[in-house]
Every structure is written in structure tokens, then in C-alpha cells.
């Protein structure tokens, strides 16, 4: 058995990471995705430095619906706010929602999938029945009814962890409805991993179930979780943008979807104000595309079966 001779020395791990990076960065899609994503992450990190504070109807700097000019690079919206300013601040909101929702989804999916796969038996049956429900019911449809009801219960005022309640609710609802896909993959991977000798060895050495799952199973699941996590982010952006477009976002912390919703309500499309709706849409497209490209490249890197097929 090769496992018994492998030493997880720091150098071996560093070598493995280096090899992984070489293969991963060899994909053109991964390079494009990473560069694009880095750009948006930097923009989202320091919106204030780049374009100043978020403009509102009160401190708007321009005229109504002015086409792009040297003063307003992306034009202005229906109340005279600079579109570039809105889009840059929107990057922060949109990425925060998508990434936090993904974290919730990955934690839930991994926990449920790993528990079901590791313990098997009745726990497996019931957890998978739960997973099947969320697998069948799309996140968007569930979020569409759950979000307004939860908002009504909580109220729309105040802030939770620096986020407006509606955004907080959207994050939690997307996170809690989009984990089924991850849980299925993690479970099937766990089923095959738990039969391997290093798990038996850990058990004989006296490790508890929890410790086996966290210290031995989880590190081996990271590739699958990573590759699918990137796709979960893309899905979360799609759901968030659609929900915000239908008016479930928050105008005080506008995401790209909320900006599109405001543009739609102001009749930007029929007024020919393409700059109002072009910029947020292109941003959504570029960010989700980068996550899909990164996810596909990760999948290709980790999955030898897919490497055969160009």
C-alpha cells in the first residue's frame, strides 16, 4: 500500500501544490478568470479610494441620464448619480453576497454530505432525502417566496453585521437553498474515501469519528469542494441578481442586480439609456464567467478522467 509509506512532509506538500498550480495555470481559461477576478476583488476592496463615497439622490454629481462623457465615464442614471460610482460600489455588495452565500452553502453541503457518507445507515437515508428536496427545488424559486416572508418577520430597518437586513436575508436564504449539489458530490466522494486504509489506521490509532472526518476526510475533499465552490459562486450571483432585479434587493446598498432593477423601473431600456444597464450587466457577466472558467479549470486539473477529453 503506497499510503503507508507516504510522508506528508512540508516539502512534499509544497511540491504537490506547485504541481497543481502548474497544471491549473496551464489552462487559458484559468488565467483569464483569475486576472478578471483579481481586478474585481481589488475594486470591491477599496471602492471609496477609487470613486469616492456611494452617491445617493442627495449627493448626486451629474444631470439626469447623461451619456458617457469625460466627466462621467459611464454616464449618469435617472437621478443624476454617476454610474461608474454605483457600479464600483455594487461590486462590493454583489461579491460580498455571492461569496458569503457560497461559504454557507459549502459548509452546509460538506457537513451534510460528509455526515451522510461517513455514518451511512439511517442518517444517510434521511439526510439524502433532505438533500433530494433541495436538489429538486431550485434556489431561485425557494428564495423567491422565503425572502419576502422572512423580511416581513424581521423588518427592513437597521443593519446586521454591516449589511442591510434584506441583503443579510438574501445571503442566508441563497446559502441555505443551494448546498444540495455540493452535498451529493461530497457524499459520493466520502463513500469511496472511507474504505481506504488510512481511515482504518486512524480509527485503530484511536481517533474519534469527528477527528477522522475533520483531519483525514476533509483535506481529501478539498479539490471537489473547491471546484464546485467556484460554480456555486456563479450560481449565487445569478440568483442574487435575479432576486434583486425583482425588487428584493436594497436601494441603500445597491448590488448590480438592484442597479439593473432601478434602471428597469426608470425605463432606461426604452429611453435608450444603454449606459445605465450596460455597465452592471457586463460586470455580472464577467464575474460569473470568471468563476465558471476557474471552476472548470479546477475540475479539469483534479479530475483525470476529464483531462483525457480535450
Amino acid at each position: 500500500m503506497s499510503e503507508s509509506t507516504v510522508r506528508y512532509s512540508p516539502r512534499g506538500r509544497a511540491g504537490a501544490i506547485k504541481g497543481f498550480l502548474r497544471r491549473f495555470l496551464g489552462y487559458g481559461g484559468a488565467q483569464v478568470g483569475l486576472v478578471c477576478l483579481m481586478f474585481f476583488l481589488i475594486v470591491a476592496a477599496v471602492p471609496g479610494i477609487l470613486v469616492g463615497p456611494l452617491q445617493t439622490a442627495i449627493n448626486a454629481t451629474g444631470d439626469f441620464l447623461v451619456p458617457p462623457s469625460s466627466q462621467h465615464l459611464l454616464g449618469t442614471d435617472e437621478v443624476g448619480r454617476d454610474v461608474l460610482n454605483l457600479v464600483v460600489h455594487g461590486a462590493r455588495i454583489s461579491l460580498t453576497i455571492a461569496l458569503l452565500a457560497t461559504v454557507i452553502s459549502l459548509v452546509l453541503g460538506t457537513t451534510i454530505g460528509m455526515t451522510a457518507g461517513y455514518y451511512g445507515g439511517r442518517a444517510d437515508v434521511w439526510l439524502m432525502r433532505l438533500t433530494d428536496f433541495f436538489f429538486v427545488m431550485p434556489s431561485f424559486v425557494l428564495a423567491l417566496v422565503i425572502t419576502p416572508v422572512v423580511l416581513e418577520v424581521m423588518g427592513r430597518g437597521g443593519e446586521i453585521l454591516g449589511l442591510r437586513p434584506s441583503l443579510f436575508v438574501i445571503i442566508v436564504v441563497i446559502g441555505m437553498t443551494s448546498w444540495a449539489f455540493v452535498a451529493r458530490i461530497v457524499r459520493s466522494q466520502t463513500l469511496s474515501l472511507k474504505e481506504r486504509t488510512f481511515i482504518d489506521r486512524a480509527r485503530i490509532a484511536g481517533s474519534s469519528n469527528l477527528s477522522i472526518m475533520v483531519r483525514h476526510l476533509l483535506p481529501n475533499l478539498v479539490p471537489q469542494i473547491g471546484a464546485n465552490g467556484a460554480l456555486v459562486v456563479a450560481g449565487a450571483i445569478y440568483v442574487e441578481t435575479s432576486l434583486s432585479f425583482l425588487g428584493l434587493g436594497d436601494p441603500l446598498q445597491p448590488s448590480w442586480g438592484t442597479l439593473l432593477s432601478l434602471a428597469q423601473r426608470a425605463g432606461a431600456a426604452s429611453a435608450g439609456a444603454w449606459w445605465c444597464l450596460g455597465a452592471p450587466g457586463v460586470c455580472v457577466l464577467m464575474v460569473s464567467l470568471s468563476f465558471v472558467l476557474i471552476g472548470n479549470a479546477l475540475d479539469d486539473t483534479f479530475n483525470p478522467r476529464r483531462r483525457v477529453i480535450p
Binding site: 432525502r129 433530494d132 428536496f133 429538486v136 427545488m137 431550485p138 434556489s139 431561485f140 424559486v141 423567491l144 417566496v145 422565503i146 419576502p148 416572508v149 416581513e152 418577520v153 456563479a234 445569478y238 440568483v239 441578481t241 435575479s242 432585479f245 425583482l246 425588487g247 428584493l248 442586480g257 439593473l260 434602471a263 428597469q264 432606461a268 431600456a269 426604452s270 429611453a271 435608450g272 444603454w274 444597464l277 450596460g278 450587466g281 455580472v284 457577466l285 460569473s288 464567467l289 465558471v292 472558467l293 483525457v308 477529453i309 480535450p310
Partner: protein
């Protein structure tokens, strides 16, 4: 075989029941006494007796479980989905049935176009991997399916409706069109073009990606080598061996991605003020018309469960390995 069908149908019914119960719970955690909501429009002040009478009339004085749940489920089974807040107390089922045809036309046409184009391009791209068609189709379809359909709809309106003035970008009929004439039908078709295109383009992206991936796997299978060794032409290999096997994942996707189609349809309808379920959803959301929202959720849930049921059964018919 029959055991498999029984299990699939049983599971679908279980999911449907969960949707209905979730619906019930969600509706009951909305703050405010339903009886108060019902009497909110009363002109004079309401006495405690009147309030109690309302509670008794609507069964709100009985325990939540099991009485009210059973009442709710039985009413739902009889097609009683409650009454709308916004539309002057009209039955929710009537509202939904009234709006359903417009959505079915939109989604049906978009699906048909998307399946035809998506499968053709995807199969061809997978068959001739690395060729010009493959590169363009793969790149374009990735962009198309990550793009929110409603944004695509807005872009189409800006270009073809506001910019070029070729097609209408709003509503289902032009104002003042003659009722019952052929002109009116043509007018309807012209109004359909942009919404259907917006919805179909996103779907085409998905079908191309899946059909291509399926085809790419099929062509590396041993039976394709055998087929070539037997001396079959490319066309015969494609039609007799590759196409049928590559269709399996595509058929599953067509039935399973109804959730994506629904998200697309609802938001695209919002862009065009299309008088379908999507338009109704937006109106219900804005007015916090919960009964309507719950009715729509039930409708979507039921259609998704049905689509899954069809997918599972169809898979058994298409793939003999599943039947055993």
C-alpha cells in the same frame, strides 16, 4: 421495473407534500393575525365579537396542527388556493389560470427553439472538437448561460426596439390593434420575438455545453472504435451510435433545468411587462400579496416535481441499463 416506477412516483409525491407544508408554514409566520388582515379594509371599528366570528368562519380558532394543516391541504387539493389581497379578493387559482397561457407560450416557444439550436450546435461541436464551430459555440454558450436572461432582454430592447425601432419592446399587443383580425395576430407575433429570443439564447448556451460534453465522452467510447472498424461512414456512426447515447444527458437537462427556465421567464416577463406568471409574481412581490405568491410557489413546485418525474421515467425508457 414497476418497483422502480412506484418508488419514483412515491418520492415525487413526498416532495410535493413538503412543498405544500413549507407553503403553509411560511404563510403562518408572516406577522399579523390573518383575521385582522381580513378586516383591515373595514370602515368602522371592529368589535371583538366580529373578530371572533371571522376567526371561527375561516377556521382560525382551531389548532394549527392537525386541523388547520389538514384543512389547508384538502383545500389545496380541491384547487382552492385562497384569495388575493391585491386583486380585490379574487381567487388565487383564477388569477394564476388567467396568466398561465401567456407564460406557457413564451416558455414553450423558447424551449423548442433552444432545444433545436442547442442540440444541433452542441452535437456538431462535440463531434468536431477543436474546430472553428466548436471554439465559437463553446465560448459563446458559456457567455450566454452565465448572462442573466433579463439583462439580455434589456439589451435586446435597447438595440432592436429603442435603437432600430424594428420590434416592440413592451407588452403583448400594440395599443389600438384591431380585435380578432389577422393584423392582431401578426402584432402578437411581433411582440413575442424579443422575449422568446432573450429566454431562448440563455437556454441554447446550456444545451450546447451539455450536448457537447456528452458527445465528447461518447466519441471516446470503445463502441465508436468498433463502429469505425466495421467500416461505417461518419454519418452512420453519428446517427446510429453517437447521437442516441449523447442524447441521454440532454434529455435529463431539458426536464431538470425547469428551475433555471422559471427564473429566466419570471425576470424576462418583468422586463417586457408580459402578462404571464412572471408579471403576476412581480405585482405580488411589490404589493406583498402573500396568497398569490404562495399560489405561484405551489404552481412552480408542482411543475418542477412533475418535470423531474417525467425525467426519471423517460430515463428508464431511453436507457435500458436503468430498467434492470
Amino acid at each position: 421495473m414497476s418497483r422502480r416506477i412506484f418508488r419514483i412516483v412515491f418520492r415525487a409525491l413526498g416532495t410535493l407534500l413538503t412543498v405544500a407544508i413549507l407553503n403553509f408554514i411560511l404563510f403562518r409566520i408572516v406577522p399579523g393575525d390573518p383575521a385582522q388582515l381580513l378586516l383591515a379594509g373595514a370602515r368602522t371599528s371592529v368589535t371583538v365579537q366580529q373578530m371572533d366570528a371571522q376567526r371561527a368562519r375561516w377556521g382560525l380558532d382551531r389548532p394549527l396542527f392537525p386541523d388547520q394543516v389538514v384543512d389547508y391541504l384538502s383545500a389545496t387539493l380541491h384547487g382552492d388556493l385562497g384569495y388575493s389581497f391585491k386583486f380585490r379578493g379574487r381567487p388565487v387559482a383564477d388569477l394564476i389560470l388567467e396568466r398561465l397561457p401567456a407564460t406557457i407560450v413564451l416558455v414553450g416557444l423558447a424551449q423548442m427553439i433552444a432545444i433545436l439550436c442547442g442540440v444541433l450546435f452542441g452535437i456538431y461541436a462535440g463531434w468536431r472538437r477543436g474546430g472553428a464551430v466548436d471554439r465559437i459555440a463553446t465560448g459563446a454558450s458559456m457567455a450566454l448561460y452565465t448572462m442573466p436572461s433579463f439583462w439580455l432582454a434589456m439589451v435586446l430592447v435597447v438595440i432592436f426596439s429603442t435603437g432600430l425601432g424594428w420590434l416592440p419592446g413592451y407588452g403583448i399587443y400594440s395599443p389600438g390593434a384591431n380585435i380578432g383580425s389577422t393584423d392582431r395576430f401578426l402584432d402578437y407575433l411581433r411582440h413575442l420575438v424579443l422575449p422568446v429570443t432573450a429566454l431562448a439564447l440563455g437556454l441554447i448556451g446550456q444545451y450546447v455545453v451539455v450536448a457537447r460534453a456528452a458527445m465528447s465522452e461518447v466519441v471516446t467510447e470503445d463502441y465508436m472504435v468498433t463502429a469505425r472498424a466495421k467500416g461505417l461512414t461518419n454519418g452512420q456512426m453519428l446517427m446510429r451510435h453517437a447521437f442516441r447515447n449523447a442524447m441521454l444527458p440532454v434529455v435529463t437537462l431539458i426536464t431538470l433545468n425547469l428551475g433555471y427556465v422559471v427564473a429566466g421567464a419570471i425576470t424576462v416577463e418583468a422586463v417586457f411587462a408580459w402578462p404571464g406568471i412572471g408579471g403576476l409574481t412581480v405585482e405580488a412581490l411589490n404589493a406583498r400579496d402573500y396568497p398569490v405568491l404562495q399560489g405561484i410557489f405551489l404552481l412552480l413546485g408542482a411543475s418542477i416535481v412533475l418535470a423531474n418525474l417525467i425525467a426519471d421515467l423517460a430515463y428508464g425508457l431511453l436507457d435500458p441499463r436503468v430498467r434492470q
